[in-house]
């Protein structure tokens, strides 16, 4: 059995940065996957990301990217794209750190062989709990990229007959905790 993690990364409080967590909830609500596949909203992890990725066969990350492309554009990055640059001297060592976590896992051992970042170019990262129109419009395409990668890795999945309740609690105006 392959161990695979699909991780949504980003802050649900900062506009389009929430696209990763949003997308993993859509995946959870709409699909059933083979055993060994975890679908997780990891928020904005720093180096503790190492713990989540060590020992995996494959990692698929969905995150907002600041690459200057038009909002809603989807760009795929592989492991070598992400670790192309070496880590920086850090004043604030807790800064979120996908590339640094990959570098660290490479050194400690257990870095996944297969890494894919499904990057969604955002429009706005201002405080707020909603995705912009272009990013909202890209979610289905981003999901298809995740599914294509799972398929390539030999992972089976089916669409649920009935959509289970999607819990995008941060978009709900009131009383979500009960």
């Amino acid at each position: 059995m392959k161990r695979i993690l699909v991780a949504g990364i980003g802050s649900v409080l900062l506009g389009d940065d929430g696209v990763g967590p949003y997308l993993v909830r859509m995946l959870q609500a709409n699909y059933v996957f083979d055993e060994g596949v975890e679908i997780e909203d990891l928020g904005t992890p720093a180096l503790d990301l190492i713990d989540h990725i060590a020992g995996l066969d494959a990692l698929i990350v969905v995150d907002a990217v600041a690459n200057g492309a038009a909002p809603g554009t989807i760009t795929l990055y592989r492991k070598q794209d992400l670790t192309r640059c070496t880590p920086a001297v850090r004043l604030d060592p807790h800064s979120p750190a996908l590339a640094d976590a990959l570098w660290a896992a490479e050194f400690y051992g257990g870095c996944p062989q297969e890494v894919l970042l499904v990057g969604v170019s955002g429009e706005s990262y201002e405080g707020g709990c909603a995705l912009s129109k272009p990013v909202q419009g890209s979610v289905e395409r981003a999901i298809q990229e995740v599914l294509r990668e799972l398929d390539r890795l030999g992972i089976g999945f089916i669409r649920r007959f009935e959509e289970s309740e999607t819990q995008i609690w941060w978009e709900s105006p009131l009383a979500v905790a009960r």
Binding site: D41, T44, D92, H94, E106
Partner: protein, 566 residues
């Protein structure tokens, strides 16, 4: 003529700490700390149900998720005068302790040890001598020659490949690096072992909080853990025993490895007990409540002014009347509109970005003040305030530190020397030892209380229509955290979080008083200004975390912190 050096990690689009220092005759003559991003996240909470606030606040930061959740439920409980059942207090306390232990271990090893340990000296070490040194310092079983050899081989492989990977960012061979190859290897092997133990601590958080990084088990009024001693899905003896095993392991690592390593680094870099003091006003709030009302705590709080330890003042409760009155935020040098300092309950966050100007506005961080003075928060504040009040556990581990540093390096540490960069590291290790011991105590309190037949975990909140305000505090790994809520018509009217890193990373205020990072850097000697390792040592000793921010991945490759010498 002073040179200005800017250290600005330009990697991501927001949320960064930037440090500017002026250097004269190879020492820092002036300093500015700034954060480069406006958050304004608190506005999102307005109009929402106060019982939901914690779900949002734990998304402020990816590192300190649990602490913001905890401060949030406490703020609403304070506003509603709602008591919390003892079981819920103990479960919360165990989560807070486990999170803090994880955080302190990661901070020392993964995030700051390599400021002191020169990785590229490791290939020169003798593994047998290293093992002997390790065994002379501690009873830890992970100091064997084989373990040292394995760690050394890892470094040799990286050095031979020419690709330094995660170590590409260090100031190796810097003249301020002074450990012997053996001490470097010993510390580095613990750096590798630390990963496993921080993970065990996090497992405790996950088992009690049902998930990490975002715990799910909180409620305003208590926790959502169902207690059933014989059950497997609820919190029963099975799970509690597993938690105990994990806590025992982490406790051993903290006391036999982390504590010893900090003492060893301290003994070998004695000059760093004289560098990095800065603001000598300290503040901590009481934490780890022992009863439902919050009248007794295992960690003391209070404040010290101008380094006058003899005149410590205690806080009686976690939301002490003095604390409620004395905290204000000043925006003179921060990118916000506004005039005179405001209390958080009436706090405003209207941005007014003007660009960096050291004489005017230069940071997105507001300047929190306690009775108009900057305060240093964090483990050093906690330890000094506890020590000054004769708090038994604090005194025990502080005295053990003094003895250990003496036995390793023949260096006599006095409490006065703790106002320093090394003092902050030592205090964090002291606090970790205290927390490890308290984890055992609170585990037992929980088990005993359940054994007495008390299974209650929650008191249901009732929201009034009238306006009410509350403050919830937590003495978090980086220091005093407070959430301030105003509730009206059962909804949140205003919400402000005053986080530890804003106390410490505070810019100047209207009186021109420097914040703790800024003041701590003054007079720091720099061997090579273009490689400001010494600045990093002091800034890292505070364990800065500005991650309460957005972090869209920047693939452009601009990953090198910019060190600009003007």
């Amino acid at each position: 003529m002073a040179n200005r050096i800017t250290i600005d990690p330009i990697t991501r689009i927001e949320g960064h700490l930037r440090i500017d220092v002026e250097v004269e005759n190879n020492a820092v003559s002036n300093a500015w700390a700034s954060c480069t991003m406006w958050r304004g996240i608190e506005k999102i909470l307005r109009g929402r149900d106060p019982r939901d606030a914690w779900l949002f606040t734990q998304r402020f930061c990816g590192v300190c998720t649990t602490v913001h959740a905890m401060a949030s439920v406490r703020s609403v409980e304070d506003a509603l005068k709602l008591e919390v059942p003892p079981n819920a207090q103990y479960i919360r306390n165990l989560i807070l302790i486990a999170h803090a232990l994880h955080d302190h271990i990661v901070h020392f090893y993964q995030l700051s040890a390599l400021d002191w340990v020169d990785v590229l000296q490791i290939p020169k070490a003798d593994p047998a001598k290293t093992a002997a040194l390790g065994e002379s310092l501690s009873a830890w079983t992970g100091n064997s020659r084989m373990t040292m050899k394995a760690a050394q081989d890892k470094v040799k492989a990286v050095a031979a490949s020419g690709q330094l990977g995660i170590f590409a960012n260090g100031y190796w061979g810097h003249p301020a690096m002074r450990l012997s190859p053996e001490v470097n290897l010993l510390a580095f092997s613990h750096y590798l072992q630390a990963l496993e133990y921080q993970r065990k601590a996090l497992q405790v958080v996950a088992m009690l909080g049902s998930k990490t990084p975002h715990i799910q088990n909180l409620n305003v009024g208590g926790v959502a853990n169902a207690i059933d001693l014989d059950g497997t899905s609820a919190l029963g003896m099975d799970k509690l025993e597993m938690i105990k095993v994990l806590l025992d392991d982490v406790t051993r690592f903290v006391q036999q490895v982390y504590f010893v390593d900090v003492c060893a680094v301290a003994a070998m870099y004695p000059e760093w007990f004289k560098i990095g003091s800065g603001v000598k006003n300290y503040m901590a709030v009481p934490d780890l409540p022992l009863d439902s009302k919050g009248t007794a705590y295992d960690l003391p709080g209070g404040y010290i002014r101008h380094g006058d330890i003899g005149n410590v003042r205690g806080f009686q409760t976690a939301a002490d009347p003095v604390f409620r009155q004395a905290v204000t935020e000043d925006v003179t040098h921060a990118y916000y509109q506004g005039g005179k300092p405001l209390q958080p309950w009436s706090g405003e966050t209207e941005p007014q970005f003007t660009g960096w100007d050291g004489a005017q506005k230069y940071s997105w961080v507001k300047a929190p003040r306690f009775d108009n003075e900057p305060m240093q928060v964090g483990p050093l504040a906690q330890v000094l305030i506890g020590y000054a009040q004769g708090h038994e556990l604090t005194c025990k581990y502080t005295n053990m530190t003094i003895e250990k540093v003496w036995s390793i390096g023949g260096l006599q540490v006095t409490p006065d020397m703790l106002h320093s960069t090394l003092g902050r590291h030592a205090a964090r290790a002291i606090r970790a030892c205290m927390l490890a011991e308290l984890a055992q105590k609170h585990w037992q309190l929980l088990v005993d209380n359940i054994a007495r037949g008390d299974y209650s975990v929650h008191n249901a909140p009732a929201l009034p229509n009238s306006e009410t305000e509350g403050v919830g505090t937590h003495e978090a790994p980086r220091g005093t955290l407070s959430h301030w809520v105003v509730i009206r018509d059962q909804k949140i009217k205003n919400y402000q979080a005053v986080v530890p890193s804003t106390w410490n990373a505070s810019p100047r205020d209207s009186a021109g008083a420097l914040g703790p990072y800024e003041a701590s850097l003054l007079h720091t000697p720099l061997a090579r200004p273009e490689e400001p390792l010494e600045v990093l040592r002091t800034v890292h000793s505070f364990d800065p975390c500005m991650a309460c921010a957005c972090h869209a991945f920047d693939p452009s490759g601009k990953r090198i912190a910019q060190v600009k010498v003007l």
